[in-house]
């Protein structure tokens, strides 16, 4: 018996109707049009821009729509070093994004503070926002960024998508240090 999560379509048999799970369709739509909000802070922002360029082409994934407005974006890509002074801004923009939203920590500085073990640098953006995918590299190559976005797509595929429509979303995933 064919599983309902994948749909095979034969118009002679099924007519003009595709049967699938709501989760599968919703997640398919969401993961193939992730609109990033580039929180481009430092050097990683340049690699983010290069990923949007013609050679690496983030547009293949439907992600070329880099919306700088948090209200219109799905995924915040924190690209660069987050300092304590900037932490408030990152958090506020994360809170302004509408659910469903994801965060990608691009680069060493966003993941853990990177090579800046100093008094002014937030040691990992996961201390203030919940991160879904960490991409290592200093800066990560655009291919690594695309790999990370594909991992995010995989993560979105497995999400219980439709359940959030009718019930409040569960509490935010673990933010390091939160009680």
């Amino acid at each position: 018996m064919v599983s309902n999560t994948e749909f095979a379509y034969n118009s002679k048999v099924e007519g003009e109707v595709v049967v699938s799970q709501a989760d599968a369709v919703i997640n398919w739509v969401r993961r193939h049009s992730v609109w990033p909000m580039p929180m481009g802070l430092a050097c990683c922002a340049i690699e983010l821009m290069a990923a949007g360029g013609a050679r690496f082409d983030i547009s293949r994934f439907g992600m070329e729509v880099m919306r700088f407005s948090p209200r219109q974006s799905d995924c915040m890509i924190v690209a660069g070093t987050v300092t304590y002074k900037m932490a408030e801004v990152v958090r506020r923009i994360y809170e302004q994004m509408a659910a469903p939203k994801w965060v990608v920590a691009m680069g060493a500085c966003a993941s853990t503070g990177g090579m800046y073990r100093s008094y002014a640098v937030l040691q990992g953006v996961d201390r203030i926002v919940p991160v879904d995918v960490y991409i290592s590299g200093c800066p990560p190559r655009p291919e690594a960024l695309l790999d990370g976005m594909m991992m995010l797509q995989e993560k979105i595929r497995k999400e219980p998508g439709a359940s959030g429509l009718f019930r409040p979303r569960p509490n935010e995933p673990h933010v390091a240090g939160a009680k």
């Binding site: 932490a87 073990r117 002014a120 933010v175 240090g177």
Partner: protein, 207 residues
């Protein structure tokens, strides 16, 4: 180019030559600094102030100094001027912001990093760290990892329980070099008190 130093020494009795690696350099007492800079700009043609940085001389007295880099725009030569703040507890040096607008932000940075006050500065506030940061980071007694304090934004701190922490040094910095140590085992990373990690936070700190 010793001639410029000689000229300045002859003209200003308080100027003393400074041992330096490259460009001519002089020492000037803080009290005479403003007048000296004005004459440098008007009479001697040093129309650009390229840089100004504060230095913490640590165990010497006076403890805090400021080093200026002047540039003669026509002759394309540099002049380094160093001065010392007389008071160690509240170091103060006259501000050059009225003469050279370039000094404005550089002096704010020196104040932010070292706590040197520039008397006569139009707006002496922190520029790189946030207003209300309680320490002066570049002082020699301030550790590289930082000292635990509150996040500048109260709402973010409340929502996430994040704090400004002492960065987990993980045993670093990974070199055995300090200019004061002579014995290598004193200079190695494990001798320094920076071995806390992300999993085992610094004692006395929540992490």
């Amino acid at each position: 180019m010793d001639t410029i130093v000689d000229t300045l020494k002859a003209k200003f009795p308080y100027v003393a030559p400074r041992a330096t690696g490259d460009h001519p350099a002089v020492n000037v007492p803080a009290a005479n600094l403003l007048e000296f800079a004005r004459q440098l700009r008007d009479d001697h043609g040093y129309s650009m102030l390229l840089d100004l940085c504060g230095v913490d001389w640590d165990k010497e007295t006076p403890r805090f100094g400021v080093v200026y880099q002047f540039y003669h725009a026509a002759k394309k030569t540099y002049l380094m001027v160093a001065t010392l703040a007389t008071d160690d507890a509240n170091p103060a040096v006259p501000s050059l912001a009225a003469l050279y607008p370039a000094a404005d932000w550089h002096e704010r940075e020196a104040y932010d990093m070292l706590g040197i006050r520039f008397t006569g500065h139009p707006n002496l506030t922190r520029i790189l760290m946030w207003e209300g940061y309680p320490y002066y980071p570049l002082r020699k007694d301030f550790p590289l990892a930082g000292i635990e304090t509150e996040l500048p934004a109260a709402d973010t701190a409340a929502a996430t329980n994040a704090k400004v922490i002492a960065a987990p040094m993980m045993g670093g910095p990974f070199n055995a070099a300090t200019d004061d140590q002579h014995h290598m085992s004193d200079a190695e990373p494990r001798a320094a008190d920076q071995s806390w990690t992300e999993d085992k936070p610094k004692p006395g700190q929540r992490g």
